[in-house]
């Protein structure tokens, strides 16, 4: 009797656990509900700019608009002019280098290489007007371009190669009266087109996101939360949070998923635990460049070929340039699986004039730091952009060529297609030595992937990493991961031990059976 009760009690307990376990419903964690509520509330502006008479005057230049803005917002321009968005550089402490001012002004990338000498063209994406090579723009407050960020008509467009000036035919009254919080489109017009075309640089910032679905980005999808950039990239005194490590070095002012979703967003503790070592992005962004392709490889060495003396372009079936005389050849990819690296939020950069110590291996232009043993590091997904770009093999420095000029004969590569003169003029304008020799070197840039977050259903499953073959983390070997790693010796010894044991008992059993059969016959 007693044992029946015992057994029944135990199985009762088992059934209870099983029922409780399997009947767990998928419920929405409360933080997510709160967030949905927060971001679905309509924001009513406390001010209607169209009623202000000062904005109804006839504007003849964008600078006039800025002056009018400053009339009321009489300290805002100071904030803007102290921001890295304006200055194209910021103060950073870099290990081994000390305090440096780092930004588009002095960093070299492996897309259009650098801004120096090419400011008039690059300024299409500067939040100011009147950019010249001399840098006059940075000190004149009426050159602050308020409208590029605050225009809410979505009609404001900057002109090409005009030092940051807008297209002259715009209706400045309508635009000035519409001003408000920056929309996705305000940020997107520049940040989706970095590198000279849509989605070229980031891979996770694509013009498709002007109006996209949850499949591409769960946050920005118009069928989802419809978040705007500034909902996450919050701003204080015109300093916008979040940074991209092509130009940033310090673990400061970063935007994280945790700032909204908390550190423990899952129901499952084991998943929450992963967040100690794995960034949310690693599982929640299975692929990037989901809507349009992104540039993965840029070979400057083929640039300059002409057909009948004229530059030309070649496109692939998706309309991506595979060759441009002005820029060289490209490889594009869509739905790219990211690379994964350890990253602790600090980086070091190749700056203009830095000596290249090792010219045999690819030169990393923005080394992201981190390792398993570093407590601050997590595994992040990155896009690695590779290029073959010009360098001076004698001085061992990267070449900043003169790319842009308004007319031929000034040495600009995009007009004259001559590496020699473009390098000479470019290096002179950048105040860098040039030996006269040009060679090409492989370089890499690491772009952390943060956008194009997938829906819950499309998130990576455990197996994507926890498997022996084709683990997404196959490249990160400084730690033991269950499912992927094992000790070869233990594995081989263990399996052989099992096989031999099995063979042993089978043989033993076979002999017994054989003998039993024989003795059975004998008895007969």
């Amino acid at each position: 009797m007693r044992k029946i009760v015992l057994i029944l009690a135990f199985f009762g307990l088992l059934i209870l656990i099983a029922v409780g376990f399997f009947s767990q419903k998928d419920y929405e964690p409360t933080t997510l509900m709160k967030l949905k509520e927060k971001y679905s509330q309509k924001v009513n502006s406390s001010v209607d700019h169209s009623k202000f008479t000062s904005l109804q005057q006839n504007f003849s230049s964008p600078q006039q608009v800025t002056a009018t803005c400053i009339n009321c917002h009489n300290k805002r321009h100071v904030e803007v002019m102290q921001s890295n968005h304006w200055n194209w550089e910021r103060e950073e402490y870099v290990e081994g280098r000390g305090i440096v001012y780092l930004g588009k002004k002095n960093a070299i990338n492996n897309f259009c290489i650098g801004t120096q000498g090419n400011e008039q063209s690059c300024a299409k994406c500067h939040i100011g007007y009147g950019m010249t090579s001399e840098g006059m723009v940075y000190t004149d407050s009426t050159n602050v371009d308020c409208l590029v960020c605050h225009d809410n008509t979505e009609t404001y467009v900057k002109d090409l190669e005009k030092g940051g000036a807008p297209v002259a035919t715009l209706d400045f009254n309508a635009i000035a009266q519409s001003v408000g919080k920056p929309k996705l489109s305000n940020c997107g017009v520049c940040h989706f087109f970095g590198g000279g075309g849509n989605n070229v640089k980031h891979g996770d910032l694509d013009m498709a996101m002007f109006e996209t679905t949850k499949d591409v980005d769960v946050h920005m999808g118009i069928d989802g939360a419809k978040l705007q950039c500034v909902d996450c990239h919050t701003t204080e005194k015109h300093n916008i949070s979040g940074k991209v490590y092509s130009l940033s070095s310090m673990n400061l002012d970063r935007n994280t998923c945790e700032q909204c979703h908390t550190e423990n967003p899952h129901d499952d503790n084991i998943l929450n635990e992963h967040s100690i070592k794995v960034a949310c992005q690693s599982c929640h962004i299975p692929t990037y460049a989901k809507a349009n392709s992104t540039k993965m490889y840029w070979d400057w060495s083929t640039a300059g070929k002409l057909k009948d003396g004229e530059p030309y372009e070649e496109d692939d079936s998706l309309g991506n340039h595979t060759y441009l005389s002005i820029k060289g050849s490209f490889v594009w990819e869509r739905n790219v699986v990211p690379d994964y690296i350890w990253f602790n939020g600090t980086a070091s950069h190749y700056l203009e004039g830095d000596i290249i110590k090792d010219t045999t291996n690819p030169l990393v232009l923005n080394q992201l730091h981190g390792s398993y043993s570093d407590n601050e590091s997590k595994i992040y997904p990155v896009k690695i952009h590779v290029a073959n770009q010009p360098y001076d093999p004698v001085n061992k420095i990267l070449i900043q060529p003169k790319l842009f000029a308004e007319k031929k004969g000034e040495g600009a590569f995009w007009k004259d297609f001559n590496w020699q003169t473009a390098s000479e003029v470019g290096m002179k304008e950048a105040n860098l030595p040039f030996s006269g020799k040009i060679s090409f070197i492989k370089t890499e840039m690491y772009w952390p992937v943060n956008h194009m977050v997938a829906t819950k259903e499309n998130t990576l499953d455990c197996k994507s990493c926890h498997q022996r073959e084709n683990s997404r983390l196959a490249g990160l070997n400084d730690f033991y991961m269950p499912g992927r790693d094992y000790s070869k010796i233990v594995e081989v010894t263990g399996v052989w031990m099992l096989i031999l044991t099995l063979l042993g008992v089978l043989a033993h059993g076979a002999v017994r059976i054989a003998l039993a059969v024989r003795s059975g016959k004998g008895k007969k």
Binding site: I17, Q467, P482, G494
Partner: protein
């Protein structure tokens, strides 16, 4: 020498044995999936089930330890080196010649010397190692800022490998164990005994057996 049905395995003992068997099979199956040997449940579920089964096994072990000490049954597992050679000899040669078992099974000595030695090894080595490494595996926290510095373990590697070694050992024990079930008086004798508790044993030492088995009934 007369044979008599004797109550050898008590209710709890059988319950413990079969529960343990189920759990260990399940743990081995889900464990080697986590190890990456094959896919069945899917990694996430395998981990979940493996952890639940692990805690169940630990609870069972705690009960079993209590039972063994409160009943004095633990003495069964104290290894004795007498007759080991004879027992080995039996498995290697005697069994094929239909020789009798060299050691007599009684309620007080249920285990032959080889079993004693094996189970003793399981109980003080393999099980503790697999449970401890398993607990460390589950409770492992990355060397992290929130933890206690002194308790940090730099890497999961050693824990995982020890856990794997123990799993291989246990598995090869199970294979042997399953086979040796068939080496009783008849092929099914041992299995039947572990299921019903009763086994036909030689009469000559039944006096004390009877009394002790009656007591525990």
């Amino acid at each position: 020498m007369q044979k008599k049905q004797v109550y050898v395995y008590k209710a709890f003992e059988r319950f413990w044995h079969w529960m343990q068997a189920i759990l260990i099979f399940f743990l081995a199956f889900s464990g080697f999936e986590i190890h990456g040997s094959y896919t069945f449940f899917g990694f996430q579920d395998a981990v979940k089930y493996h952890n639940i089964a692990a805690y169940m096994l630990i609870v069972l072990i705690v009960f079993a330890i209590f039972w063994h000490f409160s009943t004095g049954e633990w003495r069964q597992y104290v290894p004795s080196f007498n007759n080991i050679a004879a027992q080995l000899n039996y498995y290697i040669l005697g069994i094929f010649k239909n020789s009798p078992h060299p050691t007599k099974k009684t309620v007080l000595t249920k285990l032959n010397p080889l079993q004693k030695l094996t189970y003793f090894g399981l109980k003080i080595l393999v099980i503790p190692v697999i449970v401890t490494s398993g607990l460390l595996y589950m409770l492992y926290r990355y060397p992290q800022r929130h933890g206690i510095e002194a308790l940090n373990i730099e890497s999961l590697e050693l824990i995982a490998i020890i856990h794997t070694i123990a799993a291989f050992l246990l598995l090869s024990f199970i294979i042997t164990h399953l086979y040796l079930i068939t080496t009783g008086e008849k092929v099914t004798t041992n299995l039947k005994a572990m299921l019903t508790g009763y086994e036909e044993l030689d009469e000559h030492n039944d006096e004390e057996k009877k009394s002790s088995s009656e007591k525990s009934e």
